[in-house]
């Protein structure tokens, strides 16, 4: 099991790191993001202080989670909404399908929901003959390409305008050389029809406000407002960790999310979904359902050391900051959540044995922790995943023996000196052109694509000893 995911990751990463076109696109996108974020941070009085306060609020939420979820549920129900708790993807899917059956749903419009990606909801709908349309432009694009989202915030980040123009030409019959504006207007026209005729709207939730029983969505396009404003039924699928205690917390968290996510002061539409249509409102859904989604989050909650990974507000900043992400890209991870946060949480959601390799695919530079708006110490959690996997005996026998040998050699000065001497001889042999990068080279994985740095004539130890003697 672990071998497959690991192998797929290595293969995908191996291909992508050599894809210079892909690298150029990614570098441009992440650079633009970085510039925007730096500018956005200036709007805060003290960004570092704001981050720390956000971390406190999230700590309160995730360390009193039962109280806040119960408060949220009671408030939603009082207003005529429904709350369903789903432990697993199957339960979530079954609930949604039952609703579809009850209401004779033939068409669903979806606003972005990473939680729904976890359970491959679109495929299930497809199997049941329910048409489902992704309304976020980036999600719509990858849906047309039959691909998963590349990035949790910007799903089509890996595509150029030309790629998208050709895609629309193929699938929608439009001009392959259309501008970004023209392509967007084409999508707008396509979506309009769907918004007006859909039977059900499914959204995610960026936040759950315990105090007021609100699901909060943040979009720029307005697709959530239309997905959940017009159809008869609105279903919001939201991870249980998205809780914020009070409505006023939004005045910190909405700008925090938009700043780290896209560099904006606020996304265009920050919307509170509080319930079904009220008696004094001329439109809105007859039914409002919130699915509180677990799917492994309680595993992470139970791990006191790593619980803070649940503070994540899904801004995507750590992805854009990560040198590994910037080389291998989002699809290589093969998981719903990519980048540092994905590497930290996926083992808890889907298994340590299967996904520990992602925690190893890191240089531990710490940039992720640096940019996280809620101060999650992501690189520490990557290390903890590694440690946990070794403790559980998932490291493999060769790795275990290699480290024991290394520890043995390092724990004694004389052994260390001899290891050094042998090492130097070994490196000299390995760096000869006949051996370097060939089948005989045990470091082939490294040396195949890298230059060998020239070795100094003497080791530092010897140089120092000789210098001392000389002096």
């Amino acid at each position: 099991m672990s071998a497959t995911e690991l192998r797929e990751f290595q293969q995908a990463a191996g291909v992508k790191t050599h894809d210079l076109r892909h690298r150029a696109i990614l570098q441009k996108a992440t650079k633009t993001h970085h510039v925007g974020v730096e500018k956005g941070k200036q709007r805060f009085l003290d960004w570092e202080d704001a981050r720390s306060q956000a971390a406190q609020i999230k700590w309160d939420a995730l360390n009193h989670l039962d109280q806040y979820l119960e408060q949220f549920e009671a408030t939603v129900k009082k207003r005529g909404g429904h709350v369903y708790w789903a432990e697993t993807g199957e339960q979530c899917r079954d609930y949604v399908l039952a609703l579809c059956k009850k209401h004779g749903v033939k068409k669903v419009v979806k606003s972005k929901s990473m939680a729904s990606e976890e359970i491959h909801l679109n495929e299930i709908f497809h199997e049941h003959g329910i048409e489902t349309i992704e309304t976020d432009l980036g999600e719509y694009i990858v849906q047309l390409r039959n691909e998963p989202p590349y990035h949790i915030v910007t799903p089509a980040m890996h595509l150029t305008k030309g790629d998208i123009g050709r895609l629309f030409a193929e699938k929608l019959g439009s001009d392959p050389n259309a501008t970004a504006e023209e392509l967007t207007m084409i999508a707008r026209g396509v979506m309009r029809r769907h918004f007006l005729t859909a039977d059900m709207g499914i959204t995610g939730g960026n936040f759950l406000i315990a105090e007021t029983g609100s699901v909060v969505t943040c979009t720029n396009e307005g697709n959530a407002r239309l997905s959940a404003g017009l159809p008869k039924v609105h279903v919001a699928i939201v991870g249980i960790e998205k809780v914020l205690p009070k409505l006023e917390d939004l005045s910190l968290f909405l700008p925090l999310l938009s700043t780290s996510g896209t560099g904006q002061a606020l996304t265009v539409y920050n919307v509170l979904w509080n319930g079904p249509r009220q008696a004094d409102e001329p439109d809105g859904p007859e039914e409002f359902h919130v699915i509180l989604f677990d799917n492994g989050r309680t595993n992470l909650l139970a791990d006191v050391e790593q619980r803070e990974a649940l503070h994540c507000i899904r801004c995507g900043a750590c992805l854009n900051a990560c040198p590994i992400f910037k080389n291998v890209g989002g699809h290589s991870y093969g998981t719903t959540y990519q980048g540092p946060i994905g590497s930290v949480i996926t083992p808890h959601l889907r298994g340590l044995a299967e996904f520990k390799h992602l925690s190893y695919a890191s240089s531990l530079c710490g940039n992720c922790s640096e940019v996280c708006p809620v101060h999650i110490e992501l690189h520490h959690h990557l290390l903890q995943n590694r440690r946990n996997s070794v403790r559980k005996g998932l490291g493999g026998e060769i790795e275990r023996l290699a480290f024991r040998a290394w520890a043995w050699a390092m724990s004694n000065a004389r052994r260390y000196r001899w290891a050094n001497r042998l090492g130097r001889i070994g490196l000299r042999v390995l760096s000869t052109p006949a051996i370097k990068g060939s089948m005989l080279d045990p470091m082939r994985g490294w040396t195949e694509t890298r230059e060998f740095p020239p070795m100094a004539d003497e080791s530092f130890k010897d140089w120092w000893r000789n210098r001392e003697r000389g002096a």
């Binding site: 979820l69 309009r192 918004f195 265009v268 539409y269 509080n274 439109d283 619980r307």
Partner: protein
């Protein structure tokens, strides 16, 4: 019926017995944002500035007569034929003489608003710091009126202009108490996307134009 509920809550309660390590804050917390002078003219100027940067449009009318005049000009310049508006006393006054589809609590709204040129509403508050409009399905008479037509026009009074969304959220809490509408929105500029190679395009799904007029 929802047996998973008890199981999930049980797992959470067990986990909650041990609190996670808490980050220390060494100094007293600061305000999140720089202070803004609270006088109306400064706030309105900031609102106008932010809205313009967002490619929204800002108009100021000193009084109702001027507002009526400006509205007439806007309708003519933009050739607003089919107008939908919240059934509100101020809007009734300013749009007097025009043919308007008045949307009130029991009107038919929703998808039927698709064919209109403009949706006109009041606002619960305007937030100067970010150029935002706070609106609800109660004040904005429904969910569709302010998002389905290609242009959203907001008419607000001078004292609707507050410092920021924090103040706006407090205003919501005062205005609605526990009886909040089913849908509340914070609108910051016209609809946009940058999903195609980070090129900014307006009018992705929501209104392509957001026009805000402050009266007073």
């Amino acid at each position: 019926m929802n047996e998973a509920r008890e199981r999930i809550l049980d797992r959470i309660r067990v986990a909650m017995r041990e609190k996670a390590p808490r980050r220390e804050m060494h100094d007293p917390p600061k305000a999140w944002y720089p202070e803004l002078p609270a006088d109306p003219e400064t706030l309105i100027a900031r609102l106008a500035q932010e809205l313009t940067v967002l490619k929204g449009e800002f108009h100021r009318a000193a009084n109702e007569a001027e507002a009526r005049q400006k509205l007439r000009e806007l309708c003519d310049q933009n050739q607003f034929r089919k107008i939908a508006a919240s059934d509100d006393p101020l809007l009734r006054q300013l749009l007097e003489g025009r043919e308007v589809n008045w949307i009130h609590a029991t009107a038919k709204a929703g998808a039927s608003l698709e064919s209109f040129d403009v949706g006109i509403t009041r606002a619960d508050a305007l937030a100067a710091r970010t150029g935002s409009v706070l609106l609800s399905a109660r004040t904005g008479t429904g969910r569709a009126l302010s998002v389905l037509p290609p242009i959203h026009l907001v008419i607000a009074r001078k004292d609707d202009v507050l410092v920021d969304i924090g103040a706006g959220i407090q205003a919501w809490q005062r205005l609605y108490g526990p009886n909040i509408p089913s849908n509340c929105f914070i609108i910051t500029g016209p609809s946009r996307t940058a999903d195609i190679e980070k090129v900014l395009v307006l009018g992705a799904h929501g209104p392509k134009r957001l026009i805000v007029m402050v009266v007073g």
